[in-house]
Subunit: 286 residues, 2 copies
């Protein structure tokens, strides 16, 4: 909370909203994408392989081919997105490695429908209902029971850049939401993941004032040293992550504590699906 004086963290007794050890579930190594930026900062993306299998398959193939190495972050548009990959113009677009579907079918909606482990009591302007899946993704469905469901473009969500519809994007160029809201991209772009480490390295970059936030000069671009699947890294360099599962009463209690904070804080009777903390952590050493 914005406060003039930082308050030292007080030790707190365990609460009903705290995760139990078994609530932490491993994220498979091939669902972690590790980016190393010029200057050495590391960004880790959790891939949404269940929800966008074709695009995530492309993303994995591109990482295994080291295709993003020596590409750049070439776009930072304020209150919108940071974008990276291939190249910002058709003229110098990098050829795709073999096996990539250059125009996979749209995965704007998810095939499994709306089955969150936690459904939020208050809806939002962009959906009929929203919630958190058991495996820790924000999901929404349409008003009027149309049945379609989709992952939501929350802060730190990674999506597939594309040309005008009906293009769906190959996955070679990706963006991450860095602004107040990118929810109006829901159902129009394919989400392939979420930044779980190093988000500040993507959100804290200088904004470009050029058209669409594309850096006007090569000097402004930030180099990408490498992008790897964790499963493709030497064991010693491989990060191991767990996510907090949402299919348990502790997670429900955590949401409730945010919907109804302790007085004197005034609660608003709801929480936006993008404001529910989706925790991850390094796998503890046994």
């Amino acid at each position: 909370m914005p406060q003039a004086t930082p308050v030292a963290a007080m030790p707190q007794p365990p609460s009903a909203a705290d995760a139990l050890p078994g609530d932490w579930r491993p994220i498979p190594d091939d669902e972690l994408m590790v980016m190393t930026l010029a200057g050495g900062k590391r960004v880790v993306v959790r891939l949404a392989s269940r929800y966008a299998p074709e695009h995530v398959d492309n993303v994995r193939r591109l990482a295994l081919a080291h295709w993003w190495d020596a590409t750049t972050i070439y776009r930072v548009q304020d209150n919108w997105v940071t974008q990276w990959g291939g190249a910002p113009t058709d003229d110098d677009r990098k050829p795709m490695p073999a096996g990539i579907a250059e125009r996979p079918a749209a995965e704007f909606d998810v095939s499994e429908g709306f089955h969150p482990a936690q459904t939020l009591s208050a809806t939002d302007a962009y959906s009929g209902a929203s919630g958190i899946t058991a495996d820790g993704w924000a999901i929404a469905t349409a008003r009027g029971g149309e049945g379609k469901a989709w992952l939501t473009h929350c802060y730190a969500t990674v999506g597939v850049a594309r040309d005008a519809l009906p293009d769906t994007g190959s996955g070679g160029e990706l963006f991450v939401a860095i602004g107040g809201s990118a929810r109006r991209l829901d159902r129009n772009y394919t989400i392939v993941g979420r930044v779980i480490e190093g988000m500040a390295a993507l959100s804290g970059l200088p904004r470009s004032e050029a058209a669409m936030g594309v850096y006007a000069t090569a000097r402004e671009r930030l180099g990408i040293v490498s992008v790897r699947l964790a499963s493709d890294l030497p064991a010693a360099e491989r990060p191991h992550y767990q996510h907090r599962a949402a299919d348990n009463p502790r997670f429900a209690a955590m949401i409730a504590s945010r919907v109804s904070p302790r007085p004197p804080t005034v609660g608003l009777g709801g929480i936006d699906v993008c404001d529910v903390p989706l925790a991850t952590r390094h796998t503890p050493t046994p």
Copy 2:
């Protein structure tokens, strides 16, 4: 929209959603706060004097006393706020000039109630209804007809930092929302304005990983050269701004065009109050 290839802007015929000349209304010079940062970047804040008169009165007095000159931006917390002013610790807090109410009454809610010019058709998780006031501010009201109304903590909203409740903050330390959502601050902090120019100078700063995002070293802080009311600047340096009024059918048509975009873009049937564009522009030279 995230696209691989920026598309050149095509000339468009006027639409029912375009503002007419009379929809642009002047923002008084004493409702504009002009910040000059080290390095020369300028930030302009539109002050919410109608909605938080006591706190804005403090802010004006502080600007007229040149109180913020040589203070710093000392906190940048990712997905949350950039904060500046006095000083981050009680030890070296700058004394207030005469005439400042150090603990004005809370102005978390606004006295005039919920009377937007445009009420949004779809609600959000934090309110019973929301909309845009005639003079261009995002406003919300509670569920269940409690009657209270408040300005919403959207991206670029400037609020008053404070210690723990019941402190309300003097206005000497201010924050601006730079993240995915700060709506959970609604009704708990006083909003005094909105950044209308130079937001990227506040949002594109390096994030601090220290507690609460307070820069750990003096070297990280960004100096504030000066903060002035536009009305206190020499005429030649004074910016002149207009805001787009919302009490007209053009504004309603603009909202409608965003709620229901043209196919093939898929519309979501609603728009969040924080995603409604609140346009301002430099006053055209006659």
